[in-house]
Symmetry: C2
Subunit: 336 residues, 2 copies
DNA sequence: CGGTTTTGCACAAACGCTTGTGCATGAGAT
DNA sequence: ATCTCATGCACAAGCGTTTGTGCAAAACCG
């Protein structure tokens, strides 16, 4: 159907192999410059584009990297996707998205990444065990993976934001503004699997240093606006004396929900209650008061992660695993 | 590397062809039931999954459909993507996303869909000429395409929301609530290419019928929160006597921006100015006042479009083109 | 002008799978 | 016991590339 390498070869009067050599710039196969020109010209004229299925099959690589994230309903991940896609493209890779349908919540890959044989994977903060569910036992061992978005203790390549420092900045900011009852709104119960969450730790640390009593407000359910709203409502329903005067939200989407909840309950932000988010998504800048938040530079993270990954793919990276922490930045809005 | 069909065949003690026949349920090739069982059992044991590159190359189809949309920064398109992905999966297709990076605005495909030889395409409201830029002249002619999201005049398959009726409902709602100065906030100048935009038409029609003077507020730039905010600010800056008492926004993202703009300027919603959006994205339900909007049932649209597309792919659809309009539904929030 | 090197390209195997053809073997019929 | 048929599977070509080997012709050397 489409024009194949054979068509081009026939038209030029050479063999398909020759066309391939020319188009791939193979220096070993010395092709006369005149021939090269003709091949390139005719290929362009005919609008030839190599079939990537065949190409990938032949070369044993797809020039595609998988991006595994937990769902695009959080606009933060849209940023991640767009950033990764743009940067990957520059490096000559395509991105294949594998996101959990937000509806179902927990990720249940159907093996997309495995079946299409991606060369490598950028994996958002999913436990390494689920890597196997995604790639299969075999590929999980041989496919280079760079974890992103979480600090890890194990021997893997990863790039994360400096979540601890971000949490510190956020909490110290609240402390320095004079807030005394600062709560943390989190999807994770403290003391559970995720008890080492750096933001949690930083929050607790700063509270302790300031002589404040930490309070964790546990979200019921997912990290959604709805859950945030419920939490906000619940906070607002407390008598003023028992209500935090500031909350640090695990991320911006939650913060948006909390904001909505407390506002609908008639509280003023920041007069009655201050709110700090985390991530720096665009949406949170369109509340009546721009949200104070901790910006996580997605571009820098993706760039770093892709850098590591592509070096692994090219076999340029020697065994030692690479880890990196990307600095975060406090964005002071008007919600504090 | 990964376990191939040969490995399975060797282990079972049959030829690769036999394994293929069994696994694909080929009735023509009568394989003894006992053999079938062994093949299936061993294949499962070994964790065999056919390499989709090879499979697609062999069969001449990828079981993948392309989804072409203009960017995920508008959460509406996240809904479209998730819906399409879930429904496609049910029908045995994978979805390959091709979205314009929001940053660049205008779409500039790098031929992803063409190179990977998708079987068909779901295309959001992009002009048919740009189809060629996406698929190439050749594939553009042979690849089934179903356009979604816009009413078309040409002879193509398409599924759209009933935008006219949606616009009518929104405007009539405002009229019936007693608003007399109703403006339309739009990214398109009236009288331009898009002057037939059904929402525009409906708005104008309803205004005329009610004896109201239509006013188009033109957005400067893209369909973003930022542009909406600027428009909102500008409206709020007008003296009360020259200010609309209600605005119908082209979509929810714009409405969110407008809301933010007028609120920051001190106006109350809906007392000073009412706002209606379009699309029904989740985000817009988390303003202090839930946004009145026109819900466009994304799932129904995707289902219908995929239905048409898969029938075309299976050659089940006779020549007559299919078009469909999906009904919309007014969601009355508190912004009116 | 014979011999050596270089140049330029054709050739073919391989990637992993699908699918139609063909050939044994065994069962059934006479 | 022979013939016919159905059964069960192996076989091989093909999908569109890539890539290493090999061989002819042309260029160089003395």
């Amino acid at each position: 159907m489409a024009v194949s390498i054979k068509d081009v070869a026939a038209r030029v009067g050479v063999s398909p192999g020759t066309v391939s050599h020319v188009l791939n710039g193979n220096k070993e196969a010395r092709i006369a410059l005149a021939t090269q020109d003709r091949v390139r010209r005719i290929a362009a004229e005919m609008g030839y584009r190599p079939n990537r299925l065949a190409r990938s099959l032949g070369r044993g690589r797809t020039d595609t990297i998988g991006l595994l994230i937990s769902g695009l309903r959080n606009p933060f991940f849209v940023d991640v996707l767009e950033s990764a896609e743009a940067l990957a493209l520059e490096a000559g890779y395509e991105v294949m998205l594998d996101a959990a349908p937000s509806a179902h919540g927990t990720y249940q890959g159907h093996g997309k990444l495995r079946d299409w044989a991606v060369d490598g994977v950028l994996m958002w903060a999913v436990s390494s065990q689920s890597l196997e569910r995604v790639l299969g036992t075999q590929a999980a061992q041989t496919t280079p993976v760079v974890y992103i978005g979480a600090v890890r203790k194990d021997d893997t390549d990863w790039v994360s934001f400096d979540l601890y420092d971000g949490g510190r900045q956020a909490t110290e900011h609240l402390v320095s503004r004079g807030y005394r009852r600062i709560a943390y709104v989190s999807p994770y119960a403290f003391g559970e699997d995720r008890h080492e969450e750096p933001r949690h730790l930083a929050y607790k640390g700063v509270c302790a240093a300031a002589g404040l009593k930490p309070e964790f407000v546990l979200l019921h359910g997912e990290e959604t606006r709805a859950a945030g709203l419920a939490a906000g409502r619940a906070l607002a329903a407390r008598p003023a004396s028992e209500r935090p005067d500031a909350v640090f939200c695990h991320n911006d989407v939650i913060a948006v929900g909390v904001y909505c909840g407390v506002r609908r309950a008639g509280l003023r932000v920041p007069e009655d209650i201050a709110i700090v988010g985390f991530d720096g998504v665009e949406e949170a800048q369109y509340l009546e008061v721009p949200l104070t938040t901790v910006r996580t530079p997605v571009d820098a993270l993706c760039r770093h992660a892709l850098n590591i990954l592509s070096r692994r793919l090219n076999g340029e990276a020697p065994p030692p695993r690479e880890q990196a922490l990307i600095a975060t930045e406090l964005i002071i809005g008007s919600s504090t």
